[in-house]
Symmetry: C2
Subunit: 274 residues, 2 copies
C-alpha cells in the first residue's frame, strides 16, 4: 500500500485509528476461550465490529508466540482474515525485529510473503542493513522505533547522540535517507506528544505510528495538534482500551469506544479540511 492509498482510506473512513490486537488469553471474554483458536476467534470478532472505523490493525507477536506454534497459527489466521475480507485495511506486524541482513531478509519473508502484512515494526539499534531488506519489498513498510511510550524510553532514546539533540532524532535523521515516505514510518509514543514538534521538523512528510493513547495515558487531541500533516500522517494505535473495554456486553462496549474515538478523529480531520 502506498502513503496516498493509506491517506485515501483515512479520508473514506474519517479515521486514523489503528487497533492493537494484543489478544491476551487471560483477558479475552470466556465465550471465546473454548474455541480451537480462541485468539483468532476473539480477533475476528473485534475486526467484524470495528473494520468500518479503523484503517489499520496491529497484532503484537508476543501475544501469539507465548502460545507456541498454535499461537503463531492464530497470528497467521488473523492477518489472512483481515486481508481476505478487508484488503484495504493496513496490517502491521508489531514484531520489533532487528537483525543482520541475511536474517532481516528472513523476517521480511515471514511477515510480507508468508503472511500478507503491510508493515513490520523494527528496532533501529543495528542500523541500516537491518532495515533495508524490508524496503526491498514493493509497497511494504518498515516502521522504525524512534521515541517509544514506555518509561525506559528515557534510558537511551532521549540522550544526546553525536551531533544530534537525542538518539531518537539521530534515528530519524539517518534512517529517513534509507527509504522514502512510501516505505518508512516511525513509532512516536503519545505519552511524549510535545516531542512531535521536534519530530515534524525532521520528518514532516512521514507517517507516524503513535502508541500510548488510552491505557498508557496519551491524549489524542494533543497528538493531532502537534503531529498532523497535510495527508494526515498519523496512525494512532489503541490496544487495550478498545479490545478489553469496561462494560458487561463486550461487543457493545468495543463498538462504543471505537465509535467514540472515530468520531473524535472525524472532527479533527474536518477541522483541518481533510
Amino acid at each position: 500500500m502506498t502513503a496516498d492509498q493509506l491517506f485515501q482510506q483515512i479520508t473514506l473512513k474519517r479515521s486514523f485509528l489503528c487497533i492493537g490486537l494484543d489478544a491476551d488469553i487471560k483477558r479475552i471474554p470466556s465465550e471465546f476461550r473454548q474455541a480451537e483458536y480462541p485468539l483468532f476467534e476473539f480477533n475476528k470478532n473485534i475486526i467484524d465490529i470495528t473494520h468500518n472505523y479503523a484503517v489499520a490493525y496491529k497484532p503484537n507477536t508476543a501475544f501469539y508466540e507465548c502460545h507456541g506454534d498454535k499461537g503463531w497459527k492464530q497470528l497467521e489466521l488473523t492477518v489472512e482474515y483481515v486481508k481476505k475480507n478487508h484488503p484495504e485495511v493496513f496490517v502491521i506486524a508489531d514484531a520489533k525485529r532487528g537483525d543482520i541482513g541475511n536474517t532481516a531478509a528472513k523476517y521480511a519473508e515471514a511477515f510480507f510473503e508468508r503472511m500478507s502484512c503491510d508493515a513490520v515494526t523494527l528496532s533501529p539499534y543495528m542500523g541500516s542493513d537491518s532495515v533495508t531488506p524490508f524496503l526491498d519489498h514493493k509497497e511494504k513498510w518498515a516502521i522504525l522505533l524512534a521515541l517509544t511510550s514506555n518509561p525506559g524510553a528515557r534510558d537511551f532514546q532521549l540522550g544526546r547522540h553525536e551531533g544530534s539533540t537525542a538518539l531518537f532524532t539521530s534515528v530519524l535523521e539517518k534512517s529517513a535517507k534509507w527509504g522514502t515516505t512510501d516505505n518508512i514510518m516511525y513509532v512516536i509514543g503519545a505519552t511524549r506528544a510535545e516531542m512531535l514538534v521536534k519530530v515534524r521538523e525532521i520528518v514532516p512528510r512521514h507517517f507516524l505510528l503513535i502508541p500510548g493513547v488510552g491505557a498508557q495515558g496519551g491524549d489524542l487531541g494533543e497528538v493531532a495538534g502537534y503531529g498532523l500533516n497535510d495527508r494526515c500522517g498519523l496512525l494512532v494505535n489503541v490496544s487495550r482500551s478498545v479490545i478489553f473495554p469496561e462494560g458487561e456486553n463486550h461487543r457493545d462496549a468495543v463498538l462504543e469506544i471505537t465509535l467514540s474515538i472515530q468520531q473524535e478523529m472525524k472532527k479533527i480531520l474536518e477541522d483541518r479540511n481533510m
Copy 2:
C-alpha cells in the same frame, strides 16, 4: 543456569563454542528436505554430531518464522530435543526482541516457560522496562545487543552518547545495573575484537556472546586475547561455517570444523590455565 554452571561446562568440554542454528531451508542437505520437519531433522543431526564440543546452541527465530506455524513448531522441537537429551547445554533464542513491559513479559513466557530456553537476545533500544521482565525468571538470561558485527553497527552504536564514549558503552554502563553477572550477557561482534578492551573495562565479569567468527570474518585468537576473563566469560558463536561447511559429506565436514574450533578453544583455555 548460573554463570558458574556455564563455566563448569566450558571446563568439562574444553570449549566455549556456541553453534548458531540458522537452519536456512535453501542450504540444508537434500536428505533432510523430504522430512515432515526438515529444519528440526537437520538441527537434530547437527546436535547429535556436535554436542560434546559445544556448550551452547543458538537457534535464530527468523529462520523458523519464515515457515509460519510449522516453522515455529520446529523451533520448539529443536529446543525440546536439546533440553531433553543434553540438559547441560545452554540454549539461546536469538530473537532480538524488545518491547514495553507487558509485552516483554509475554516474550519471556514464550521463550522461558513455553519453551525451555536459557536465554533470549534483546535489543536495548527501549530501555530498562523492556529487559527487566526477562530477569524475573530464575536462572534465565537476557543477552543484550551492545556492539553488533554488521556494517550497520556504525550507524548508531559507535556514536557518542550523553556522557559516554559511544552508545554501546552507554548500554553496557546502564544495563549492567539492571541485573547481575548471573542473568545478563552482552552481544559483542567479533568483527570489532579490539573494542573488547573497552568492553572489559566496563563489564569485566559478564559473559559475552560473540558472533561474527567465521562467515563474517572475526578471528578467534584475537577475540580470546581481548575478551577472556577468569571464568572464560565468552561464548563464541559460529553459525554458517559450522552448519553449512564445504565438503561432500555433510556429517564429516560438520564434525571436522567443529572439532577444529574446539581444539583451538581447548588450547586457548589451557594457555590461560582454565
